[in-house]
Symmetry: C4
Subunit: 369 residues, 4 copies
């Protein structure tokens, strides 16, 4: 075990982030064209292992459709601007124009608007009409309230996403969501998280989830560590959750629960590191928020940013790198690693001699110092 | 042991600061409302494990009262501006207006004013009149001179705070304070420190102290390391002192001496890390100096900053983050981790599935790389 | 083994870069004049262990000749500006004048011009006429297409250089270069790379290569790590490849394959670190791009910078440090470690008491922390 | 052993600098007034363990005298401006006025002026007339040429100081200095260095040296690491040389050779770290160059800065912190750790409970992470 002694009464494990690890080519190379980056979960197959994060800066119904058409999975945030406002464009406009100083209070105010069930239905219908897989996300706090609306509207994949989601939530004042029963009762696959440890993930897998999101919102716009002292260095978290995947596969007699990296994926090299440490797919936020089509207008923020009493994220200016297609599939006209993300993954796999994602999880990695 | 070899003749232990550690959620989560952050020392119970540091930038009689009313413990510096000046407002004004270049010399001059015993009495009386627990602090150098005045005035808790306080001070020219005898003779609980090692803390515990302050003034305004080469990475120091607490509990047949983190607690995540590594409570300086009510007017400095011949601290500009209530209890309208400190602690404990502070000392922690 | 556990399912080796290591003088010192830095590969002997990188910012036919006359080996890029343009001066001019924003697209456009075989012949002839060793480089992708032209034109050393070159390239759509057969058929020594691991290098050595380039373009102008997640901390890579050199020497019954560090050599101290960890020679890019004679006009870029769909390098401004002679042989009139590179290597070897390069590979090294 | 594997063929030891280590107070404290910082070497006793470095920015005959009167040892550079120029004030003026760009070439030009033997004699006589211990320094390269002049003029301590000085210098073209014979023939104690390893120092001790300088010019103005790839993390170097001191003490039947830290001592905390890891005294450069009296006029540079072909140091602007007395003995009116250096050492020793320098070499140290 990679354990250190903090002091006489406390031990800790040592964690590694994407920045700490890199992959290492070896004796064989391949043509990038021969590499497959396709990914399947439940009955759905995607030509890239990319899920667009249910964040308002990234996903509108239109961008969810666009991501689907490019071969990935777009997930709409079902408790965000698109279900609070009939026409959220002025809310987006306002967010883009908030001063640095007023950003958090502005977000708190804009998100105080109630969620409308009919908008949940309408937004999902719009995506379904486009003929791409339909996916929507709720936080665990809202899942009980709105899940029946979501299911009536119809989704292909249902995402329950919070900073931390556990299989066992304890509450003295209300009946908490029984995740296992809830998933059992649904007839759509559920992706749930964040989780970042072997134990947390194993229990989530036992609820029947089809996929587990790894991470605690550790992305570009998060201050979870500063505010809560919680951190999950991503490379370690993914490897630990991948270990739970393997053990649960055995325990369940063959259920393969997908491990989806969610956070810290700002450059294509981070996506490489995520797969290399065990992820099956990645959920992307800030890189997609940088596309022309993203509704955020060059700004990026997550749901933690507008918590009414304890905001733990920022609205950050990310700018625009290119079209959604350029961001995902290229061509890149810059070397910063934020465009042609899928091409870079493919190229890196080819350079290391691998031909599919599952194999690439075994590539050799190096830690610098 | 986490030991390293500096060279052929020198070994060292490896220390970790709050920045190095983070807590890790696991399989269970909780509602923040179900979490208790209350803390008791001697006969006193507080609704939050927060002591306001006896620093002139933080504590006036009014802010000591305000902290008490919010559920924490305010400690007045009994050898600072409030006991040197009948009306310290012009001294505060002058400090706020010192140029960067003149700051240290200005502080040395302003603090050259003698301490008045009658002001000690008056300030403590003012706090007592407000009906909150009364606490005052002296440095070990001044304790013998002024303690009888303090005791006559009446305090509920007495704090002896220096950069380093040991159970055994040796002097060739004067009779040093016999801490054990002194504490024995008092009939109020004493909190004493800083200390940062198992041995130093164990000896302080044996003097009869009710609490030990951990740290050497390692906060935002300190240059102790640059000037003296002394350092105490806080996570390690707390864990080591917590080990002394456990051993002394056994040795004494049941005396539980409280471990109070004092230094480096600039964000709520640091408070989480302090409890997670073994602290019972925290003493806060710069974060409270950032409140509207703080007497420092947006500036922060400690007693080391005005040492007449060897200053080891700075007057630093910290600005204002919100009211004392917002800083401690929220709501936060920013994500920087400097407001709603207690709410963040509560939230972090809930996310990790813990329901009281004592249990939370056992939470899993991770070190990044 | 210097292995770390990233998580429960993933181990990694720990790598060190040139910045991490330094050499340590010991009990003996020497006069720098008594130190030999000469280097021989195949039938060629050089008075310095320096190869100029086949990059358009560094090498023109004239600078290849100049490096040869100073005692090193210049290698012309045979698929760069000099073989695409009859007179490349306006292309250089244009590159120097690109704005930061347009740099990558501009390079992509300028390098879209086809390669002309007759220019390959003419450029190599020009170098041969000057009486210095003739060396040219192709990427593995172009080697099959242009190697016969190169061989007809005549080279003394042939360099196959890509980000990653393996002994076994797999392709479903075309017959890949059979490196072993290719090298066997040639009657000139071949230097090939980059490679960065024991295994990759050992297989390259088995193809019959005379030298192996170590590194993945990790230099000043590269973003390989950000884009591809691939990294090769140079000190570790060199040491591992030196291990392959030793094992292959035994396996082959005496063939000594030269290990040439290629990347991260921005200061003379890095060259020292490269030899100290096992390199026989170094391939220099940015330091030579900083010479008056370099065709890049104060700018530096590599072939990755103009990849049509996945650029992984930048055009960076490096300025001018002095003449090629000053950069290589001094005298230095600055202390930045970018001039008198060979003098500094000689001085460092003398200070550590060594008299030739092969011995200096055994010098003691230290890692800071 | 604190050894790491750089790669398959290379191991390294891990080194620590002053920044990495800090001392840790324990169970006892003391009054600073009760602490002795006196230091004796050969027949000379100093009230502080401080040697002023033989650098032209630090030492003039006047400042050598002033340091002596304050209780330390001033060492004049006998091959610097004071022995090249009858009146060096215009040289100092010129150095202070060189532009950043011309600094190195300017120093090379100014130091091209030959050394005059009569000036060596005159400068040493001036110091002797003031009644303080007389010490002068030569580089190993100049020692043979000028030592007889120095000895005729009369010195109490003779310093041979270079970047690296070994007991065994090998030269093919000239008879090198036989250090052992040279020291044997002298009747004054010799301090010699830099050295940074056990082996190098042990051999220097065997030459009969009274003290060994530890370090390779690793100070504020040095670029030795960038240029030569040579580095000696100071805490490790001191501890290793202290180990040689102990072994040589045994081997020689009682000769105690002093270990003098030379380099990286920019703040009082570094001086603490130097003693704490085993040094007997410290040689100070940049901190003294910051005094009013220093001849450098707010600039600092070492002999490496004007090497004619391979400069490895910079002229850096350091400004002025106070009088020589304030720098060494206080009072400090700033918290940056660059004034009251001796007071800070005394205070740190007292805080850790130690009463003399030799004991303080055993203080507990901590490495942060």
């Amino acid at each position: 075990m990679n354990e250190v002694e903090i002091g006489l009464t406390k031990r800790a494990i040592r964690g590694y982030s994407f920045d700490d690890v890199a992959v290492v080519p070896s004796r064989r190379t391949r043509d990038p064209e021969d590499v497959s980056v396709s990914w399947s979960i439940d009955a759905f197959t995607f030509s890239m292992p990319v899920i667009a994060a249910p964040m308002d800066s990234v996903m509108s119904p239109e961008t969810a459709i666009a991501v689907g058409k490019l071969g990935g999975l777009g997930v709409l945030n079902l408790e965000g601007l698109w279900t609070r406002y009939e026409d959220p464009s002025s809310a987006y406009e306002e967010i883009a124009n908030l001063t640095e100083e007023d950003a958090t209070e502005g977000l708190q105010r804009i998100y105080a608007e109630p969620i409308k069930e009919e908008l949940i239905t309408a937004r999902l219908q719009q995506i379904r009409d486009a003929g791409v897989p339909v996916a929507g996300a709720l936080s665990p706090q809202r899942t009980q309230e709105f899940s029946s609306t979501v299911l009536s509207a119809g989704v292909d994949l249902f995402v329950i996403r919070g900073t931390t989601v556990s299989a066992e939530h304890v509450s003295q004042n209300r009946e908490p969501l029984n995740l296992k029963q809830f998933i059992y009762d649904l007839d759509v696959p559920v992706i749930v998280g964040g989780a970042a440890t072997y134990t947390a993930a194993l229990h989530l897998m036992r609820t029947g989830a089809a996929g587990v999101l790894v991470g605690f919102g550790g992305g570009a716009a998060s201050s979870t560590r500063a505010a809560l002292g919680i951190n999950a260095p991503m490379a370690t978290a993914i490897s630990d959750v991948a270990s739970a995947r393997r053990d649960y596969l055995d325990e369940s007699g063959g259920r393969y629960v997908h491990v989806i990296a969610d956070g810290g994926l700002g450059r294509s090299g981070d996506i490489v590191a995520a797969i290399a440490t065990g992820a099956d797919a990645v959920m992307l936020g800030s890189t997609l928020a940088r596309s022309h089509e993203a509704p955020g207008r060059g700004w990026h923020w997550g749901p933690e940013a507008h918590h009414p009493t304890l905001p733990r994220g920022y609205r950050v200016h990310v700018g625009v790198d290119g079209s959604l297609e350029q961001v995902l599939l290229g061509p890149a006209h810059s070397a910063h690693g934020r465009t042609n993300l899928v091409g870079a993954l493919r190229h890196s796999m080819a350079t290391c001699g691998y031909s599919d994602l599952k194999e690439f999880q075994r590539v050799d990695v190096i830690v610098q110092r």
